[in-house]
Every structure is written in structure tokens, then in C-alpha cells.
Amino acid sequence: MQTTIETDIKQVETMNKQISKKAIDAIISELTEGCQIFAPVVQDGIKLYKQIESPEQINWGHGNCHRSLKELFFPITEPVFSFRQTRKGIQIETPGNHNKKRVVIGARPCDCNALSITDKVFKWDYEDELYLSFRENTLIIGVSCIQPEPFCFCTALNLSPFDETGSDILLTETGKGIYHANIITEKGVALFERFKEHFTEASPDQSARKDAMLKDIVSKMPAPFPMQDIKTWLDKNFDHPVWEEIALGCIGCGTCTYLCPTCHCFDITDESRGYAGERLRNWDSCAFGHFTQMPAHQPRPLQWQRFRQRVMHKFKYYIDRFSRLACVGCGRCRSLCPAGKDTVEVIQTLQKQIDLAETGPKTNKKG
């Protein structure tokens, strides 16, 4: 199957505005009434998206959050419903916290972009209301990456540190305390209309400066990988001996999948005490052996098979199904892998295999 990789989904014509840091704080203060605000907060030595009460709590630093934005829409653990055995039978109650209006501020473009990827799977055929109601009720104000982290590689996947996909409004710090604001979606426009007085028209030199900054950052970051070629190679090489080699060292923890902004696998379990209990949806990881363990059968008994599943899922299966790469290059898996496994290295190894297949002797391919 030959499918092409889409990279960008354009929404409405974007508006270019400008806003000061002070005005942003004012907007947030006003929004805290009637809205839940989430923003990067540093606590206990780690940076996470957390609910805040005032704009001072926001950490505007350049680093990305340790855990990705997905946890606000697809929580680590989330009650699907609670049940209670009564004399009238079993009563089921579904959670009621999904309709609150929420605003996320300070999300990185890679995280926002990842949501447009997970949207696909949660909307596919059956619509997952738990995830989608959170999505619908949340407005996302992204902040462009003007200082990529050491392990970032979004440009290698044809994405940009100023990517607009997934954000409703994208802020870019073009000067001290001055943000260039792209109003991208209808939700963004609605917010803009409400706080019109805080925004000013973006001056041409601001826009020019933004473009120059982007150019400067991208020039340093890794050049795009031929993901289409890699996809073609993956189509044919499920049984290639290189897989066993690539996965060497993987200790089988779930760090990469849990930190990944696009990994969306979950488990459903029940927990109960006495006459009542809850059914919970928890994150799960394809790196775990028990992920696919059936009573008498295990399709992926070895770690390298599970590793292959993850790579294949990101760079082939997802493209086949949803025409998107399931990787945004946020670099979390690279930086925090306990055994120093590196997604970029995996891509490079596959690239080497392509070169080998073209020049060297043919490898044993599956028909």
C-alpha cells in the first residue's frame, strides 16, 4: 500500500497580531474565572502542564514539559465510569468533568501538533467522547520554540519549531515581552474577538523578524529525513534481521511510550471495594510483555518484536491508517531512555539499510 505522509492541515486563514506579555497575563487573569487554565509549571524539579490560578505560576522558560500535552486530554488514569451495586441493580455513573471550558497556555508546537495526530485515532470510525469532549472544550495557546532543546528533531520530520498545527493561537516571542500572535482556528478567533483590545496589528518588521528567527533556528537543526523512503522500506522489511540488532539494549520499560505525545495505547481495568467501584482507563505501553499476553498465546514474546512494533507503528502503520507520521520529534524518548536508545539513531540505521539494499547485496525480503 502506498500512502503519502501528510504534514500539515491548514485551517482558516491565519491572522497576524501582536500582544505584550502584560496583556497575556491580563487575559489569563480574566480567563481564570469560568475557565480552567493549564500551563507549564515547575514543581519538584520537573516541569508539567498543571492547572494554575494566576499567571505568575506559569513557567515561560524554553524547556518542554517532561510529560506531553496529551495527558490533559487523555489522562494517565481516568475513570470511565463508576458503578454501584444497589438493591435495584447496578447503577452506572459517567464522569461529569468533561464539559468544563479549559485553556492551555504555553504548549510547545510539537505537543500541539501531536494532538492533531492522536485526534485521528480517537475520531476513527467510533468517536471517543472522553477524549473528544476534552478536545472540544479546550482552547490551546501554543508558544513557538525559539530555543530548541538538545534532543529535538522536529525539523528532521518536516515539522517546524513554529508549527501552527494543533494550536488555536500561536505565540512567538519576537522581542522582550512582545509576542507575535497567529490566530489560527475559529476557537482562536473567538478568543481574539473577546480580548480584542489587548492585541495590536503585527508590524511588518515583527513578522520579518519572526521569519528570520525561524530560518536561523531551522538552519541549525537536523535536515529532513527521507521518511517516505523509510516507509517504503518498512513496507517490505518486517522480517529483516536488522530489527533484532536495532532493539539491542532496550530494557522493556514504558518510558518512551509514556512520554511520547502521540502514543495512545491504553488499558481498561476495574477497581472495586465492597459494593462499588470504578472502571478506569490507564496508559499502557507496547513495550511491556503483558500488553499482548493472552492466556495461551503471546504474539510478541521478545523485546525486539515489541520494539519493532513501536517503530513500525510510528513510521508505517500510522501512515497506512491515518496518513500521518506518529512522531513529532519532541525528543523526549531520546533524552530519557534508560539505555540510551535513540529514535533518530533508529531512523538512521533504517536509512543505512536502504542504502545497503540499493548498493549492496539484496537482503532477504519477505514477498
Binding site: 515547575v42 516541569k47 524547556g63 451495586q85 444497589t86
Partner: protein
């Protein structure tokens, strides 16, 4: 989940009433051969003791997996008591010696984590010590009563006032992720 058969459910009012007059819930793991018989003796001898104790009979104190104790707390116990034969009296000759090591370590471990020491108790009660049993129970109930309801697994409420001070290095209000200079990069030794 349990199935409701004939037992009527506690009404909301009753629960509220109970809440007001809080009584500790204590789970006791008793060895079949000594402590359980001791408790039996206390019963047949008409010795009165506090009724807040829920007894689970186990074959030997060595059977008590530390997990049982922890699970009891998770499932809402306010205190736990484990009781077995005196050293040397074990029906299986050495079960309680092994248990003794486990309990000593478990006690240290969960107290280190911050569990109130008044909530976890161990005792040796023989089949002949009905009165000791009643004394132990009364002591345990009193201790747990002093400690109050166990709320350790309720979600903590964070605010500026309750912020936890910890020794400096434990929980550095760390730098942002990767906001370190690139030459300090992890695990690198330049070639």
C-alpha cells in the same frame, strides 16, 4: 465486587452518623494455633475488649505477607495488628522467626515513609493468654484511636502554606529540562 444477597445496605444516614462517631477500623491477622485460640479463650472466659477489631485467621504469622498489611491500609483500615505464637511455640516450628524479620523490616520501611507508628502493631499471644489478648487489643485500639482516621491515601491538597520543605538536594527546584549547557551533556565524553 460483592454481590448483594440478603444483607440490607447501610443507609446514607447511618453512614453519616457513623462518620460523626468515628471508630477505628483495625484489621488483625491472627495465627490459627496461638493467637486465634487466645482470642477464643478470651471469648469463652467472658473477657471484655474493644470490638473495633476485625480478625482474619491465617495458618501462621509467617503466612502474613507484608502485602496483606499494606493492602489493608489501602482498603481503608486505620490500623493493623499481626499476632502469632511466641518464639519457639510455632506450630510449624520456625514460621514466626521468619515472620519476625519481615515485620521488623516492614515496620521500619513504612515508618520511614511516614506512616504513624501507632497504626501498625505486632504481638505474640499464646493460646493460653486470653487476658493478654484483650490487653493487646485494648492497647492497639487506643493507639489507633489516638492516631485518628487514616487519610494517607486521600489526595493531598497542595497550597503555598502546606508546601513541603525537604532537605536541599532531595527535590531541587530543579533547572528546567535541558537548561544546562550543552557541554555538560549527559553521558558524553568527547572523542
Amino acid at each position: 465486587m460483592k454481590k448483594i444477597k440478603d444483607k440490607p445496605q447501610e443507609s446514607e444516614d447511618l453512614l453519616l452518623e457513623k462518620d460523626r462517631l468515628w471508630q477505628p477500623r483495625i484489621v488483625a491477622f491472627l495465627c490459627n494455633w496461638c493467637s486465634y485460640a487466645g482470642a477464643d479463650l478470651a471469648g469463652t472466659s467472658r473477657i471484655k475488649y474493644n470490638p473495633q477489631i476485625r480478625i482474619i485467621r491465617v495458618p501462621c504469622s509467617g503466612r502474613v505477607n507484608p502485602l496483606f498489611i499494606l493492602r489493608a491500609f489501602i482498603d481503608g483500615a486505620d490500623g493493623v495488628l499481626v499476632s502469632g505464637c511466641h518464639p519457639g511455640d510455632c506450630h510449624y516450628s520456625t514460621g514466626n522467626y521468619f515472620a519476625r524479620r519481615k515485620f521488623a523490616l516492614l515496620k521500619r520501611l513504612i515508618e520511614f515513609c511516614g506512616m504513624d507508628e501507632r497504626r501498625i502493631h505486632f504481638s505474640w499471644v499464646s493460646a493460653a493468654e486470653g487476658s493478654k489478648w484483650s490487653q493487646v487489643v485494648n492497647d492497639v485500639v487506643n493507639a489507633v484511636y489516638q492516631a485518628g482516621p487514616f487519610t494517607g491515601f486521600d489526595l493531598p491538597v497542595f497550597s503555598k502554606e502546606t508546601e513541603i520543605e525537604t532537605p536541599a538536594d532531595l527535590c531541587k527546584q530543579g533547572p528546567e529540562r535541558f537548561a544546562y549547557s550543552i557541554d555538560l551533556m549527559s553521558r558524553t565524553g568527547k572523542k
